[in-house]
């Protein structure tokens, strides 16, 4: 007893004991959290819609996010176009209608896919054919050009309100195209070095040229190279030296005839 008391009274041992306990506790918490996360992921994986349409989250959360997103869109349009309460009510109603129609579609897809085995590759190919249109709709946004909301928006807005909204959309599209163009030049500089002065002049030349009025989502990442390829060669040669110009031509040549998905 006396011996064991001495053993426990050892300060160093006590400190070590506490440290080991803390390390073990931390490990246990880590493992438990990981296991819980795996269980949750496993449950989500069983649901085909959660896997392909809900972006890995459960249906209730997905629908809540869509509802909030729709409310945000209506609120923003109200701010941009300064529409009145009656117009707002109509838009909200149309947006709610679009959402409910989409939720009904989801139910149909769930019904059609409920008996498929997600472990079976052949069956999953059939599932994909059923699910992919819904997934594309989600990616394109429920309130897209074909939605009731968009149709009603076109009918509800006055000429001035429409102009304000179109101007907002135009500026947003332009900002995104400019962003892609800048990122493309940043990528270009991994093969073709530009001085600050050359970059500034090249950007100014690009800004002076027309941007596409509309870019489809799938073509957006290419728009920078398409814009670079459309530049007047003589103008480019004024900015770059011979070696740079040769490299520039080599990089942009493949994009000279690529204008698919762009409306000028």
């Amino acid at each position: 007893m006396k011996r064991s008391m001495r053993f426990f009274n050892c300060e160093i041992f006590r400190l070590q004991f506490v440290l080991v306990a803390v390390v073990l506790l931390t490990c246990t918490i880590g493992v438990t959290r990981q296991s819980l996360a795996q269980v949750r992921m496993g449950a989500a994986r069983q649901d085909i819609l959660a896997m392909y349409v809900f972006n890995g989250i459960d249906e209730a959360t997905f629908k809540k996010q869509l509802d909030e997103q729709t409310k945000l869109v209506v609120d923003r349009i109200v701010k941009i176009t300064a529409i009145d309460d009656a117009q707002r009510r109509k838009l909200t109603l149309a947006a709610t209608g679009d959402l409910h129609r989409f939720y009904r579609e989801l139910e149909t897809v769930r019904e059609e896919t409920k008996d498929f085995d997600i472990q079976n590759q052949e069956q999953m190919q059939k599932v994909w054919q059923i699910v992919s249109p819904v997934q594309q709709r989600v990616n394109a946004g429920i309130l897209n050009e074909k939605s009731l909301f968009e149709k009603l928006l076109a009918a509800v807005l006055t000429v001035e309100q429409r102009a304000a909204y179109d101007e907002y959309l135009r500026k947003r599209e332009r900002a995104l195209c400019t962003a892609v163009l800048h990122a493309t030049i940043a990528d270009l500089e991994k093969s073709l070095p530009l001085t600050v002065e050359q970059r500034t002049r090249l950007l100014a030349l690009l800004e002076a040229n027309p941007f596409p009025k509309k870019v489809q989502n799938g073509s957006l990442y290419n728009v920078g190279y398409v814009l670079l390829a459309r530049l007047n060669d003589t103008e480019v040669a004024k900015i770059l030296d011979e070696s740079q110009h040769k490299t520039f031509k080599g990089i942009t040549k493949q994009f000279e005839n690529q204008a698919g998905g762009l409306t000028w």
Binding site: L19, E68, L72, A179, K190, V196, Y221, S243
Partner: protein
């Protein structure tokens, strides 16, 4: 209490065994074993020549390797930038010419062969703070590329005089700033589609995001998968967005795609146009 640790590192390709021989109280063993693992991972001076050779063979990419091609391109482009920023003498040109594939290979070897020292590094890694500690770069190709790229820039600057090096450095800084800002702009554009940002918010958000980006993001991947965003600094964004917009951020999933991952795949598959000189 005297404690002595006698450990030996045995290496066969990637398998590493650690042995801790402890001379005292049994209760110390758990802590000391952990300490020995940390210390040996960080301070190991490998006596085993076989291990050294294995690392050299397995770790260093060959000239056709995508990683080596990325490095060779970086070196060539930055030398070309130095030529455009500064008027170089023949002697300086000769020094830059030495920055070739053999030099790059030697740099990679040097990095892979030199284990980082310091007990703090081992302890930091043990407690999950690997990012704070110097890490042997053989496990992470992007780390090798990052470190060798720094060496390339250092080497180029060493060939230049003070004024030239300063001018070259300014150009590198401006290029990096432009790249980070352009990536931030693309992320802002993706957010804008769903959040309906104002003009001011676009500008402020770009500044907030570019300030927190420390890697080259694969921006085109995010454009094609608009449900994903890189991990962004929430406090920085929260200052710019309103309550509804912040709540709407939850619809994006975080995934950090780096441009390096995709460049590696493209290298060797497509014709590469890189500046000659």
């Amino acid at each position: 209490m005297s404690i002595s640790i006698d450990w030996k590192r045995e290496c066969k390709s990637t398998m590493i065994l650690y042995r801790a021989k402890l001379n005292h109280c049994i209760a110390c063993s758990a802590l000391l074993t952990a300490a020995a693992v940390c210390l040996s991972a960080s301070t190991a001076k490998c006596d085993d020549e076989e291990f050294e050779a294995a690392v050299a063979v397995e770790g260093v990419p060959g000239p056709d390797d995508p990683q080596m091609q990325i490095l060779a391109r970086y070196a060539r482009v930055n030398c070309a930038l130095a030529r455009r920023v500064c008027k170089l003498s023949d002697e300086q040109e000769q020094q830059l010419a030495n920055l070739d594939d053999a030099w790059l290979k030697a740099e990679c070897e040097k990095l892979l062969r030199a284990p980082k020292e310091g007990a703090a590094a081992g302890f930091a890694r043990f407690f999950g703070l690997g990012g704070l500690a110097p890490v042997r770069p053989d496990a992470q190709p992007q780390q090798i590329i990052g470190l060798v790229s720094q060496e390339i820039d250092k080497r180029i600057k060493s060939c230049l005089n003070i004024d030239q090096a300063s001018a070259f450095n300014d150009e590198l800084d401006a290029r990096l700033k432009f790249r980070r800002e352009s990536h931030a702009e693309v992320i802002v554009g993706i957010l804008d589609k769903r959040l309906f940002l104002t003009d001011d918010q676009r500008i402020e958000l770009k500044a907030a995001i570019s300030g927190s980006l420390n890697k080259d993001v694969a921006w085109s991947i995010y454009l094609m998968n608009e449900n994903y965003l890189p991990t962004l600094s929430r406090p920085a964004i929260a200052k710019v967005l309103d309550k509804e917009q912040l709540a709407a951020l939850s619809q994006w999933r975080n995934a950090d795609f780096e441009s390096f991952q995709f460049e590696q795949q493209v290298m060797g598959q497509q014709e590469q146009f890189v500046i000659e000189k």
